[in-house]
């Protein structure tokens, strides 16, 4: 967080008096509540280890790490995508909003190393190595490659966010009548980051999710995983925009219907993309009908207790957004957009849970105070890390309004 929490407050030209101290989300009481959540999470984790429920604690840890890392990294990639497509429909606010979650990346990188201590309980191949895959699935190599990958992503993301918050990039994002390209550093960083995201998060999907069922494999799984991360970031952006719009005063970027409309379109589009990738994997495995491939699906889709959870995830991530966000008006109605985005986030959390846990706990759905406390702890830590970024997004939404148009 060190690099991101620099006071790069937008010195808004139109209202410099208010911009500097503008921090609608930084109240001490809010921070205290978040700190309590983190403490509860740590206490829950410790208590679970104490009571011999270490496996459940580590599963919950992994699920939450994958989810929140996906939101944080996906957000920076959304910002990179906005630069690549020169998307200035929400002015600087959309960029600040997408980058806000990047504050969690350094913490997420550290938490990844926490997995090392739970490796025997998370990765079945640590205690029972798979002979043919031993060259790939072994502890030193896995932590080395994923650690390097995540470090590279964290550094690239921090760099992009830092350049993106510079005065020049902000001016570019706000003035859509200027047809110039984004600043040169961004023109190089954004495509590099997008490509690195695809590579590293495929690797994360293969190593931290697929290897939990070490005999199973699906080539598309990496793409599916990082596309879902991208979608989770878009949903988090839409939800945050809906939450922020009421707190920023009468006129801000998030009270403009066209901005919410565009965020709604993005959630809709990538929700369709998600189901496309899901189906593309399913159909190939269904056709092939090879036991070593089908067991992963059969366990999750055809048998209790996991089948209802899988269906719930599909309903939350695809069915509800598709039906509800099809028209223009629901996308422009803040409570509807916010509720759908929250549903998508819940669905993606559930999807990560259904991808990870059944590999380790086949017949029982472990969900109780351990999972709840650890998830709340992650949530608290995530929000604490991103609060500075959210305040920047709020300031940009308040003072760096996009030009009126379409």
């Amino acid at each position: 967080m060190t690099a991101n929490s620099e006071p790069v407050r937008p010195a808004a030209p139109r209202a410099s008096r208010g911009a500097r101290g503008f921090a609608p989300l930084a109240g001490n009481s809010q921070r205290a509540v978040l700190a309590v959540l983190v403490a509860a999470g740590i206490a829950g984790f410790a208590a679970a280890l104490e009571r011999g429920e270490a496996a459940r604690a580590w599963q919950a840890y992994l699920v939450n790490l994958l989810f929140f890392l996906g939101v944080a990294q996906g957000g920076v990639v959304v910002a990179a995508a906005f630069y690549l497509t020169q998307a200035r429909w929400a002015g600087a606010a959309a960029f600040r909003l997408a980058e806000a979650f990047s504050g969690f990346l350094p913490l997420g990188f550290l938490l990844f190393w926490g997995l090392y201590f739970g490796r025997t309980l998370i990765f079945p191949w640590v205690l029972h190595p798979v002979a043919q895959k031993a060259a790939w699935l072994n502890t030193p190599f896995l932590f080395a490659r994923d650690g390097i990958g995540l470090l590279a992503m964290t550094l690239l993301s921090t760099w992009l966010v830092r350049v993106s918050r510079s005065r020049r990039a902000r001016a570019w994002a706000t003035d859509s009548s200027d047809i110039a390209m984004p600043p040169p550093a961004i023109r190089r960083l954004a495509p590099a980051l997008a490509l690195a995201f695809a590579a590293v998060y495929s690797l994360i999907a293969f190593d931290l999710v697929m290897s939990l069922a070490p005999v199973w494999h699906s080539t598309l799984f990496g793409a599916y995983f990082f596309a879902a991360s991208f979608l989770s970031a878009l949903a988090a952006m839409a939800l945050t925009a809906v939450i922020l719009r009421g707190r920023l005063g009468p006129a801000n970027a998030f009270t403009m219907p066209k901005v919410l409309h565009d965020l709604g379109k993005l959630v809709f589009a990538f929700s369709v993309f998600w189901i496309y990738l899901l189906f593309a994997q399913y159909i190939v495995i269904w056709y092939g009908d090879i036991p070593v491939e089908t067991f992963f699906i059969v366990q999750r889709v055809y048998y209790a207790p996991w089948a209802p959870l899988s269906y719930a995830a599909v309903i939350l991530i695809f069915v509800v957004p598709f039906v509800v966000l099809l028209g223009a008006r629901p996308k422009r109605t803040p409570p509807i957009l916010g509720a759908v985005a929250a549903g998508v986030l819940a669905g993606i959390w559930l999807e990560r849970y259904v991808l990870v846990v059944p590999s380790l706990s086949q017949h029982v759905v472990p969900f109780g105070w351990i999972e709840l406390l650890i998830s709340l702890g992650f949530l608290g830590g995530f929000v604490l890390c991103v609060i500075t970024g959210l305040n920047m997004a709020a300031a940009a939404a308040r003072w760096e309004l996009p030009a009126e148009g379409h």
């Binding site: 189906f279 399913y282 159909i283 269904w286 056709y287 009908d289 379409h406």
Partner: protein, 182 residues
């Protein structure tokens, strides 16, 4: 139709043209069409154009496509009762793909055909009042009105900022297509 005249006003810019359209509609002169060198959202708004019917035809086409896909896949599977790979005769996962593709195909064809029909293209005769400048750098508004009204309409268009207002004898009405319906 002896008492009907065609008044053609030329505008230099989109804004003046929109102003002219709004003034006409305020004066309840609704029998006009507009020539524009560019597709313009503002002009469409000023005309008060109805929503295009193309969208409804695309929906109908899409639904027909899905039904056709289901008919083809389920029908052939039932006609040809062959168990493949131990799967049920009617196995829905691959059928989804056929239905999806036919939905896109039928929806797309419906879009093109209904567009051609509702826009009445190809049109081999240009509309009365058309001038090649309206494909260049000028906007045009052609109004049909009673001869008694003509003076009033001309002054409305002039006040709205028309560069030039001229009068032409109206042609038989059957040839005139009201753009607002397309």
């Amino acid at each position: 139709m002896s008492g009907t005249v065609e008044i053609i006003a030329t505008f230099a810019g989109e804004e003046q043209c929109v102003g002219g359209i709004e003034a006409l509609r305020a004066a309840r002169a609704e029998d006009f069409h507009v020539f524009a060198p560019i597709p313009s959202e503002h002009i469409e708004k000023a005309i008060g154009r109805r929503r295009s019917p193309v969208r409804a035809f695309v929906l109908i086409g899409g639904i027909l496509g899905v039904l056709t896909g289901l008919a083809i896949t389920i029908g052939t599977s039932r006609e040809w009762n062959m168990v493949a790979g131990g799967k049920p005769i009617i196995s829905w996962p691959p059928f989804i793909i056929i239905c999806f593709e036919l939905m896109i195909l039928f929806g797309g064809i419906a879009a093109v055909l209904s567009f051609l029909l509702s826009a009445q293209v190809p049109a081999f005769e240009s509309l009365p009042g058309y001038s090649s400048r309206f494909c260049g750098d000028r906007f045009g508004v052609a109004v049909r009105c009673e001869e008694t009204e003509a003076q009033k309409i001309e002054s409305i268009l002039g006040v709205a900022g028309a560069e030039e207002v001229r009068r032409a004898q109206a042609q038989p009405s059957a040839a005139i297509v009201d753009l607002r319906d397309g």
